[in-house]
C-alpha cells in the first residue's frame, strides 16, 4: 500500500479513468447532487417544522427552530453517507470482480504478467486503481459530508470513523471481487459477476448474525458499525464478544475484515501471475493455517448461553453443542480446504515419479490431499480440546464430550476425504470443468443416498438408520450420543467409506500410470 500513487498499474487507471474533462464532470455532478440533496433535506425539515409550529406552544416552537439547522445537516449527512457507502462498496466490488478476467478477455493480461511488476504490486495497483472513479467521487463529496456531519452535531472522530469503516469494507470487498475475478476465465466472467453479487449480499446479510451464537460475525457487515456510530440508543445492538469480552463493532469489523482480507491478499499474491490452470489458492501448509485460523475464530467469537444463566437459550448451551457445531463447521472447512489443495494432473504425475525414486514425500505440496486433510483434522481437534477447556468455566466439559467429538470428527474426515479424493480423480479424467462436474456428481450421490434411506425407512427404522450411517455422515451429528457409544451402523459406515477411499486411491494411481498423449492436432 505504501506509495500506491506511484504504482504503474494505479497510474494507468488514473490516466485512463480520470482525464481532466471527466474528472471535472464527475466533481461537478457530485457537488450538484450534494446541493440537490441538501435542498431536499431542507425542504423536508421545513415541512416538519411548519407542522410542528402549527401544533406547538411558543417555547416549543423556539426549541424546534433551534434544532432545525442541526437536524437538516444531520439528515443530509445520513443521506450522503448512505449513498457513498452503497456506491463505494458496490463499485469497488464489481470493478475489482472484472479486473483480471477483463484483462484476460482483452488479452492484455499476458503482457502484464511478463513485466517486472510483482503480484503484490499488481494487486495494490488494481485494488486502488480499478475503482478510482468512485474513490474520486467520494473524495469530492467528503468535504461536504464532513461539514454536514459536524454541523449535524456529530464529533469529528465519529465522522472519520464512518469513513474508515466504509474504506475497510470496500477494500475487503475489492479483494474478494479480485479473487473471484482471478478464478474466472473470459467465458465464465458472468459467473464471476454473479459470485460478486452473492458476496455483496452475504457481506451485508451477515448483520443478521448479531443474534446468533457468534455475534461478532455480524461485524463483517458495515451496518453493525454504522448503527453503533450513528444510531440512537434504541437502535443499537449489543456489542459483540471476543473471548468473552465485549468490544466495539468497529474494532470487531476491522479485525474480521483485516484477517479475512489478509487471507484473500495471500491467495491473490500467490496466484496473480500464474497461468489459469496453475492457480491453487493456498499451499498445503497455508491451507492448514487457514483451517486452524477458522477454528480459532469459532472459539474467539463464541457467545455461550448456558442453560443455568439468566439469558435466553442460544446456540451454545453446553460443551456438547459447541463440539457438535465445531465438527459440522470442520466438515465444511475440510471440504473447502480439499478443494483449494487439489493437485493438477501434471504436478501429481511428477510427484508420483519423484515419490517412486524417494525424492518426494507423502506430505508434499504436489501430492495427494488426503494426508493434509488428516493433519488439518488433528489440528482442529487439538484446538477443540483447547477451546472447550478454555470455555470450561462457562460450559462444563466432560470426557464423554471429547470422545464423542473425536469419533464425529473422524467420521466427517473420512467422508470429506472420500469426496475430495473423488474430485481429485475427476481431475485426472478428461472431463471438462472436472471439479464443477465432480461436485455435481457428489450432489447427485447425496440425493440418491437420501432416496435410498427413505426407501429403507419404509421397511423399518433400523434399516433406515443403517442406510443413513453407511452412505452419509448424518448420524455423526446425533446429539444424544455420549462417549464412543455410537450405534454399530456408524462404525460400519466408517469402515465402508475407508474401503471406498482405498478404492479411489487405487483408481487415481492407475490413472497416473497411463502414458501421455503427444501434442494436440496440427
Amino acid at each position: 500500500m505504501p506509495r500506491f500513487w506511484t504504482n504503474p498499474e494505479f497510474v494507468r487507471h488514473r490516466r485512463a479513468e480520470l482525464r481532466p474533462v471527466r474528472a471535472i464532470t464527475v466533481a461537478a455532478v457530485v457537488v450538484l447532487m450534494c446541493v440537490l440533496l441538501g435542498l431536499a433535506c431542507w425542504s423536508y425539515q421545513q415541512s416538519i417544522l411548519e407542522q410542528a409550529l402549527a401544533n406547538a406552544s411558543k417555547q416549543g416552537a423556539e426549541s424546534i427552530q433551534e434544532g432545525f439547522a442541526r437536524n437538516t445537516w444531520l439528515l443530509l449527512y445520513y443521506w450522503l453517507v448512505g449513498l457513498q457507502g452503497v456506491a463505494l462498496t458496490f463499485w469497488t466490488l464489481f470493478s475489482c470482480a472484472q479486473s483480471v478476467s477483463g484483462e484476460r478477455d482483452l488479452k492484455t493480461w499476458e503482457f502484464q504478467r511478463t513485466t517486472r511488476l510483482t503480484s503484490a504490486e499488481i494487486l495494490i495497483g488494481k485494488l486502488m486503481g480499478e475503482p478510482i472513479l468512485v474513490y474520486f467521487a467520494v473524495l469530492c463529496a467528503a468535504p461536504i459530508t464532513l461539514v454536514a456531519g459536524l454541523a449535524g452535531g456529530l464529533s469529528l472522530g465519529t465522522v472519520i470513523s464512518v469513513f474508515l469503516l466504509l474504506a475497510v469494507t470496500s477494500l475487503f470487498l475489492g479483494l474478494g471481487g479480485m479473487w473471484l475475478s482471478t478464478l474466472m476465465e473470459s467465458r465464465t466472467r458472468g459467473l464471476g459477476l454473479m459470485g460478486a453479487l452473492a458476496l455483496y449480499g452475504i457481506t451485508l446479510g451477515m448483520f443478521g448474525m448479531y443474534e446468533s451464537g457468534m455475534p461478532g460475525l455480524a461485524a463483517i457487515s458495515p451496518v453493525a458499525g454504522m448503527i453503533q456510530l450513528l444510531g440512537d440508543e434504541s437502535a443499537r445492538v449489543p456489542a459483540p464478544v471476543l473471548f468473552g469480552h465485549q468490544i466495539s463493532w468497529l474494532l470487531m469489523g476491522a479485525l474480521l475484515c483485516g484477517s479475512f482480507g489478509a487471507w484473500l491478499a495471500l491467495m491473490l499474491i500467490r496466484n496473480l501471475k500464474r497461468d489459469y490452470p496453475e492457480i491453487r489458492p493456498l499451499s498445503r501448509w497455508q491451507a492448514i493455517g487457514c483451517a486452524a485460523f477458522l477454528n480459532f475464530l469459532i472459539y474467539a467469537l463464541l457467545r455461550p448461553t448456558p442453560l443455568k444463566s439468566s439469558a435466553a437459550p442460544g446456540w451454545f448451551t453446553d460443551a456438547g453443542s459447541v463440539a457438535l457445531f465445531v465438527v459440522a463447521m470442520n466438515g465444511l472447512i475440510l471440504f473447502l480446504m480439499g478443494l483449494a489443495t487439489l493437485t493438477p494432473q501434471e504436478r501429481l504425475k511428477v510427484w508420483r515419479l519423484k515419490r517412486a525414486t524417494g525424492e518426494s514425500a507423502l506430505f508434499a505440496d504436489d501430492g495427494l490431499p488426503w494426508p493434509w486433510l488428516g493433519i488439518s483434522a488433528v489440528v482442529a481437534y487439538a484446538l477443540m480440546v483447547w477451546g472447550l477447556l478454555a470455555w470450561g468455566h462457562t460450559l462444563p466439559l466432560d470426557m464423554g464430550t471429547l470422545q464423542a467429538a473425536a469419533i464425529r470428527l473422524l467420521l466427517v474426515l473420512v467422508f470429506v476425504t472420500r469426496d475430495v479424493l473423488f474430485l481429485q480423480w475427476c481431475m485426472l479424467t478428461r472431463l471438462r470443468q472436472p471439479v464443477v462436474k465432480g461436485v455435481l456428481f457428489l450432489c447427485l450421490y447425496y440425493a440418491a443416498a437420501t432416496v435410498l434411506t427413505a426407501l429403507a425407512g419404509v421397511s423399518s427404522e433400523a434399516a433406515e438408520r443403517w442406510m443413513l450411517a453407511l452412505l452419509t455422515p448424518v448420524l455423526a451429528f446425533d446429539p444424544e450420543v455420549r462417549g464412543i457409544a455410537f450405534p454399530a451402523a456408524t462404525y460400519a459406515g466408517l469402515a465402508l467409506q475407508t474401503g471406498v477411499i482405498a478404492t479411489v486411491l487405487v483408481a487415481i494411481s492407475s490413472r497416473l500410470q497411463r502414458p501421455m498423449r503427444a501434442a494436440a492436432a496440427a
Binding site: 504478467r113 511478463t114 501471475k273 511428477v350 503427444a518
Partner: protein, 309 residues
C-alpha cells in the same frame, strides 16, 4: 543466453513439450520452426515465465525463469501473435506504463519513449488515443512495448502473423537492428519464408520434441551430404567442362546443358576452389560458379518427419 534444460510440459493428458534441452548463445537469432501444435508456443511461454514447466528449467541470462520470474523478465521482450493494447491510453502513456512496469530508471524513461516511438514510426501519434490508431499502428505499438526496456532477449511467438506486408518488413528491419545491437532472439514461426536469411540457427520441433537444431550450416550439412553447385560459362565448353567435372571422384549428378548446369559436390566449401581453378585452367570461360544454398523451407521439408499430430 537462452537455455532450456530437460524442459517438459504436460497439459492434462497431453504432452506438449518433451525433454527439450537447448542452448542459444548471445547474439544468435534462433528460428523455432514446426507445424501448429508442435510445442513452439508452449516453449516460448515457458521461456518468458507465462507457463511453469512440469519438469526442467528455462534460464534467461542465467536466471531461472520459474524461480526468479521478475529478475528474468527484466531481460525479456515478449511479442506474441496478438497485439492487445490498452485502448483508453495515449500512445506515450502506454509506453510509459510498461517502462515503469519494467522498472526502468525514472530519468531514462522520457528519452527512451521518444526513441522507441521514432523506431516504430509513430511520432505523429505520440499524443493520440490508442483506440483511434489503425490495426497496423497498434501492432507497431505492441512492438515498441516489447523493446521499451532494452531487453537482451527477444521471445517472439509468430510475431508476423496478421501483419500486413509493410509491417512485416518493418518488423524484420527492427529485429535486424536489435540483432546488430547484440540482442538474442528466439522466434517461432510456421511461415518459413519469414525466417529466411534472418536466422543464424534453427530448430525443428515436432510433436513436442526437437527433431534437429543447430546453425543453418550445421543443419544444412546434416540434411545433405553433398552441396549443389551451379555454374555457367560463355562459349562452347560443354564437353571440356563435363569431362573435367566427371573426372573428380567427389563430384556426382553432373547435369550440364548449353552454357549452364549443376553438379553435386561431396567436399567442404573451401575444397570447391580447386575445382573452380581446374575448370579455369581447362579454358572454360566461367561467368558464374557457386553453391546453391538451401532455403529454410527446403531444409524443413527435408528434415521434418511430416507426421501429422
Amino acid at each position: 543466453m537462452i537455455e532450456f534444460v530437460h524442459l517438459r510440459k504436460e497439459y492434462d493428458n497431453v504432452l506438449a513439450v518433451e525433454d527439450l534441452s537447448l542452448n542459444i548463445p548471445e547474439g544468435e537469432i534462433f528460428g523455432l520452426i514446426g507445424p501448429n501444435g508442435a510445442g513452439k508456443t508452449t516453449t516460448i511461454r515457458m521461456a518468458c515465465g507465462l507457463l511453469a514447466p512440469t519438469l526442467g528449467r528455462a534460464l534467461i541470462a542465467g536466471v531461472d525463469v520459474a524461480q526468479e520470474p521478475e529478475r528474468a523478465q527484466q531481460h525479456i521482450g515478449y511479442l506474441s501473435d496478438f497485439f492487445a493494447v490498452y485502448e483508453d491510453l495515449k500512445v506515450w502513456e502506454y509506453l510509459d506504463y510498461f517502462a515503469h512496469a519494467y522498472k526502468m530508471p525514472e530519468a531514462e524513461i522520457p528519452a527512451r519513449i521518444t526513441e522507441v516511438i521514432a523506431q516504430v514510426n509513430l511520432e505523429v501519434k505520440r499524443d493520440a488515443m490508442i483506440r483511434g490508431l489503425s490495426r497496423g499502428m497498434k501492432q507497431r505499438l505492441g512492438i515498441a512495448r516489447a523493446i521499451i526496456h532494452r531487453p537482451r532477449v527477444m521471445l517472439l511467438d509468430e510475431p508476423a502473423s496478421g501483419l500486413d506486408p509493410k509491417a512485416r518488413l518493418e518488423l524484420r528491419n527492427l529485429l535486424r537492428s536489435l540483432r546488430d545491437q547484440g540482442a538474442t532472439i528466439l522466434i517461432s514461426s510456421h511461415i518459413l519464408t519469414e525466417l529466411e536469411g534472418f536466422c543464424t540457427s534453427i530448430g525443428i520441433m515436432e510433436k513436442g520434441r526437437m527433431v534437429r537444431s543447430g546453425s543453418i550450416e550445421e543443419v544444412t550439412a546434416a540434411a545433405a551430404s553433398t552441396r549443389l553447385v551451379r555454374l555457367s560459362w560463355a562459349g562452347d565448353s560443354l564437353a571440356v567442362a563435363e569431362g573435367k567435372l566427371k573426372s573428380d571422384p567427389r563430384i556426382s549428378e553432373v547435369n550440364l546443358a548449353a552454357g549452364m548446369g549443376t553438379f553435386r559436390f561431396s567436399g567442404a566449401e573451401e575444397e570447391l576452389a580447386p575445382v573452380l581453378a581446374a575448370l579455369v585452367a581447362a579454358n572454360v570461360r566461367l561467368t558464374s560458379f557457386g553453391e546453391v544454398k538451401q532455403t529454410v523451407e527446403e531444409l524443413y521439408m527435408k528434415l521434418s518427419t511430416h507426421e501429422v499430430m
